[in-house]
Amino acid sequence: MLTDLLGFPPQVLFGQLLLGLINGAFYAVLSLGLAVIFGLLNIVNFAHGALYMLGAFAALAAAKWLGISYWGALIIAPIVVGAFGIVIERLLLRRLAGVDHLYGLLLTFGLALVIEGTFVKLFGSSGMPYSTPASLQGGVNLGFMFLPWYRGWVVVASLAVCLATWLLFERTKIGAYLRAGTENPKLLQAFGVNVPLLTTLAYGYGVALAAFAGVLAAPITQVNPLMGSNLIIVVFAVVVIGGMGSIVGAVVTGLAMGVIEGLTKVFWPEASATVIFVVMAIVLVLRPAGLFGKAS
């Protein structure tokens, strides 16, 4: 009988597996954005968690004041927050070209403090609900578990966005420029490509990905000014595990870490908050360059 799998009822096991997949999907989209930004700017975007939170707030504000539905928000929030990212890049990050990469991390850390601090002051640190769109309420009983439509949708939408990003980078002309810019920006500029513009767009795109994840998360986690602040540290660990070299690597590592975290919740709940950090430590011992990284 399949009633008890490894001593756990399948509903519990598969339920946590699904939750793990959802978290993994967020890790994948966020670490993908970090990788895109790192590729062209050589900056680790500490503000990524704060921008993810802004995405969720943008959806909430759009619904409240403009009556924009979830589906509209899914398009508009990434555009608005991505535009905000472009402003950040042009006004602030641009000035750090040529100085040590660490300053980029410090600057974006400062930005994260400003953004999150402002939102905590304005909205308090408790969550605000954002309702699941009507068309995705309810779910389906798969026999071994209950699958809420919305949760399935989150996984599908995240994977679709990752796939679109992969296609953009690997199959289009602008993607070829972006990859060339990661390899050798000076040479690319010598060929007459506008590298500063490309850099701005890359930052905007990475930020838009974070905002997209924020909108997806809004109905699940509630909208909270600090929703991204601890998440970003886990995503950093995921990035260390996978390396920021490849899109596929970021996605696979993100999903895998989410699933591992979900399974740990079943088998050893106390360890679930730290398991990803433990995996990171093990990877650093066995394969310091990361699972998909090239040894430098």
Binding site: V44, L105, F109, L113, I233
Partner: protein, 307 residues
Amino acid sequence: MNTKIAYLIAIGLLLVAPLAIYPVFLMKLLCFALFASAFNLILGFGGLLSFGHAAFFGGAAYVTGHALKVWGLPTELGILVGAAVAGLLGLAIGSLAIRRQGIYFAMITLAMAQMVYFLFVSSDFTGGENGLQGVPRGKALGFIDLQDNLSMYYFVLAIFVIGYFVISRTVNSPFGQVLSAIRDNEARATSLGYDVDRYKLLAFVLSATLAGVAGGTKTVVFQLASLTDAHWHMSGEVVLMTLLGGLGTIPGPAVGAGIIITLQNYLASGPLGAWVPVVLGVIFVICVLAFRRGVVGELREVIRKSF
């Protein structure tokens, strides 16, 4: 010569300071000045950005608190035990983190410190959300009652001066010279035959241990160890203090700590109390964009140019 005079004046001022300023505030300032100076050892002189120093500061804060409250150790010994545990933690985290460079070093230390933080949240000896309260201050050297704020102040001042001296001696020693060489050009230092990783790790452990001294002393002063001490905001604050005061200058971090602690105290009592993180973030951005040498670095530049 000039620096000697400056240090004598500084110590003289610190000796008489409690006559004019509330001693508990001064003690807090000294603890954070030591913390930032210890941190600067690894960032300013080793060129490694650790985003996990809260683990050492907070870890030692808890261990010292536990040693004094539960084991009833003498105050000095309690602080030393805390510092030793911070050093061991530094050894564990450091030996993982030095496997990667630059930006990855920062992410690894941050992640490991977050793991330590979660362990503190869930373990019993830290008292969870309440923290360790009512830690006894005890007696210094067995006979000076530290319950008195003025005695406590001179005890903390002594610890700070010793810690500061250790840091300044380390920076000016052959070890410190090699460390700076590694910071400036790692490949070259390797080719000259230095075991780069060992230097980095030793510097990291030393920095963690001294951060632990600061954390343990802070517990004795406030008779409290809490999750705030180990939270990553604390790691960020110590980066800010060091950056603001002047990376890679010996007195800079202490100056930066002085400015930030004074600012926090000033803001906390006013209408801007809830805006402290935002203010710190804005200072961060300004420092990085326009003020990378920090207060002491800029002052030195002005002096150098005008003479």
